[in-house]
């Protein structure tokens, strides 16, 4: 660290809906090739944070530096063009379109920027998720929950992102599928893409991550290397209420 510029630096980020503030002075750093996870209970502001970094929501204060560039007023498309991709909690698939069309659209911005390599990229995505290849002509809404999540991740990978942001990829999935998704996340790290992972499934997230943040009621309450957080009694406590306070 130090010499290499971080992929993403978020500092002093505040977001308010009306007068209600959802995020207070949040700071997060993602180094190249790292998996960084943000864990925390429902309503803590994790999704808000991702949406704000992506440009879907506007912030009331704070800075976002992506690939060394300080970004002020930006639209989602500009972030996609720069290499940031978000897989939202809802997956946001194009239900009435085929798997293949969904993937094609994942490369929309690359196509616009003049790259014509979507066939190779799609082959790579099919390698990661062979199940998608089998279902390439199926309409997205007919897929099972796990396949949908694979398609959502695969579609984001079609953009060959420099930073991939995943919002609750394990949400509502069976353990076997969760395991597969996390295996893919760990594998993706080898390809050099940096990952910002928001999760409820704290233990699984901390197992694959290099660094972790705990977000509670809009504030970072705890941060540190994932390996340390995983055994931190405060993390376990905030999740299970096993702290013996009663």
């Amino acid at each position: 660290m130090g010499a290499v510029e971080p992929i993403l630096v978020v500092e002093d980020l505040c977001v308010g809906y009306g007068k209600v503030e959802a995020l207070h002075h949040v700071g997060i750093v993602v180094e190249p090739g790292q998996i960084v996870t943000v864990i925390g209970p429902n309503g803590a502001g994790k999704t808000t944070m991702l949406a704000t970094v992506m440009g879907l929501l506007s912030r009331s204060r704070g800075t976002v530096r992506f690939l060394g560039e300080n970004l002020k007023d930006y639209a989602v498309e500009e972030m996609v063009a720069r290499g940031m991709n978000l897989v939202p909690e809802s997956r946001a698939l194009f239900g009435e379109m085929s798997v293949e069309e969904n993937l094609q659209l994942g490369a929309f911005m690359r196509h616009r920027l003049g790259h014509r390599d979507h066939l190779e990229t799609m082959a790579w995505v099919f390698e990661i998720f062979p199940r998608l290849k089998e279902r390439r002509d199926q309409l997205a809404f007919t897929l099972s929950g796990g396949e949908r999540q694979m398609l959502a991740v695969g579609r984001a990978l079609m953009a060959k992102p420099k930073l991939l942001m995943l919002d609750e990829p394990s949400l509502g999935l069976a353990p076997l599928i969760v395991r597969e998704i996390f295996r893919v996340i760990a594998d993706l790290k080898q390809t050099g893409v940096a990952i910002l992972l928001v999760e409820q499934n704290a233990r699984a997230a901390l197992q694959v991550a290099d660094y972790g943040y705990v977000l509670e009621t809009g504030e970072v309450s705890l941060a540190g290397p994932a390996r340390e957080l995983i055994d931190d009694p405060r993390v376990i406590e905030s999740y299970l209420g096993l702290g013996g306070k009663h």
């Binding site: 989602v76 939202p88 698939l93 194009f94 659209l105 929309f108």
Partner: protein, 345 residues
């Protein structure tokens, strides 16, 4: 009514129905992508027809001034935004599309005599004048309201319609005009003859529908529009900007509207405010399709054309009453068959 008349009315109905079908497709498209209920669609029909008629009459069409004016306003608005956000790279494109292009069109039209040109060239020129007004309209009226509720967009849509009708009166005057027939050919089947104009309308509509189908099914930009209609946030996360999708759908709608106008220009006398009722009949079709289904909308629109044609025979004074009252049972049917999941639009 004998068979002869029945067939004649049927021919009329299908000709009009084909036009309504095209319009209903554009309306469904614009609504699905932008959530705008595109009331000004009819003005594009009128402007298309009147521009072609102006060329043929040797007059400079009012749409030229409209294009110059709208381009100027868009350029100012966009330049202010570019200046505020320090996005200088956008300046050449802003100037090119909004000032240079209209100026070139003005130079071309004023220096030549379009009335002496062949029909196809006149049509192309008319489209080149009218179609860019679509994206410009999106930029000025709707882009700043992209996140607004459907109802606000609808009121804006009605307001834009009024503005265009007013401007139509300013630029084209209160007199109607009619373009020359595309061809004098007619196809005789027994005692019944199909006019060349009918054939032109039905064939062009058919070809256009196939082209649109291919565009949405095959091209990346067509798919991008579909994606925006299905899941706006998802599309944005792919880098498909709402603005681009909005402008593209308005471009297509303006094109479909203007072409429809050109097709009917030789059949009927078009006034500056004729488009509204024509557009609304397209709407009846679109509503039959629930503002969502293209094929149902198209079939519904043809049915509207036939109903209108036959009711003009039986009760010509009440033609409009019948057509627009039809929408009420259609809405009722919609309301009884759709299970409405209530939440704020």
């Amino acid at each position: 009514m004998d068979l002869q008349i029945a067939l004649l009315l049927g021919q009329d109905g299908i000709t009009n129905g084909a036009i309504y079908a095209l319009l209903s497709l554009a309306l469904v498209l614009v609504f699905a992508v932008t959530r705008v209920i595109f009331i000004p669609q009819g003005e594009f029909v009128a402007f298309g027809a009147l521009t072609l008629a102006s060329f043929q009459a040797g007059k400079t069409p009012g749409t030229l001034w409209l294009l110059l004016g709208a381009g100027f306003v868009v350029a100012i608005v966009d330049l202010v935004v570019a200046w505020r956000r320090r996005k200088w790279r956008r300046v050449p494109a802003i100037l090119g599309w909004n000032l240079v292009y209209p100026a070139l069109m003005a130079g071309l039209i004023l220096s030549i005599e379009p009335s002496k040109w062949p029909l196809l060239a006149q049509i192309s020129l008319a489209l080149a004048l009218v179609v860019p007004l679509g994206p410009m309209m999106y930029r000025l009226a709707f882009q700043p309201l992209a996140e607004a509720p459907v109802l606000v967009l609808l009121i804006v849509s009605v307001a834009v319609h009024l503005v265009l009708v007013g401007l139509g009166l300013v630029f084209f005057g209160a007199e109607g005009s009619r373009a020359a027939s595309f061809s004098d050919v007619s196809l005789d089947i027994g005692e019944f003859s199909i006019t060349g104009q009918t054939l032109a309308v039905v064939l062009t509509s058919g070809v256009l529908i196939v082209v649109l189908y291919q565009f949405f099914g095959r091209s990346l930009y067509g798919k991008a529009l579909r994606a925006t209609a299905i899941n706006r946030t998802g599309a944005r996360l792919m880098g498909i900007s709402t603005v681009m999708a909005g402008k593209l759908s308005f471009l297509l709608a303006a094109g479909i509207g203007a072409l429809s106008g050109i097709l009917i220009a030789p059949i009927t006398t078009v006034y500056y405010d004729t488009g509204f009722l024509i557009g609304l009949k397209g709407f009846v079709g679109a509503i039959i399709g629930g503002l969502a289904s293209y094929p149902v909308a198209a079939v519904g629109a043809v049915a509207v054309g036939l109903l209108e044609s036959y009711s003009s025979f039986y009760a010509s004074a009440f033609k409009e009453v019948i057509v627009f009252t039809l929408i009420i049972p259609m809405l009722l049917w919609r309301s009884l068959t759709t299970r409405h999941v209530e939440e704020e639009s």
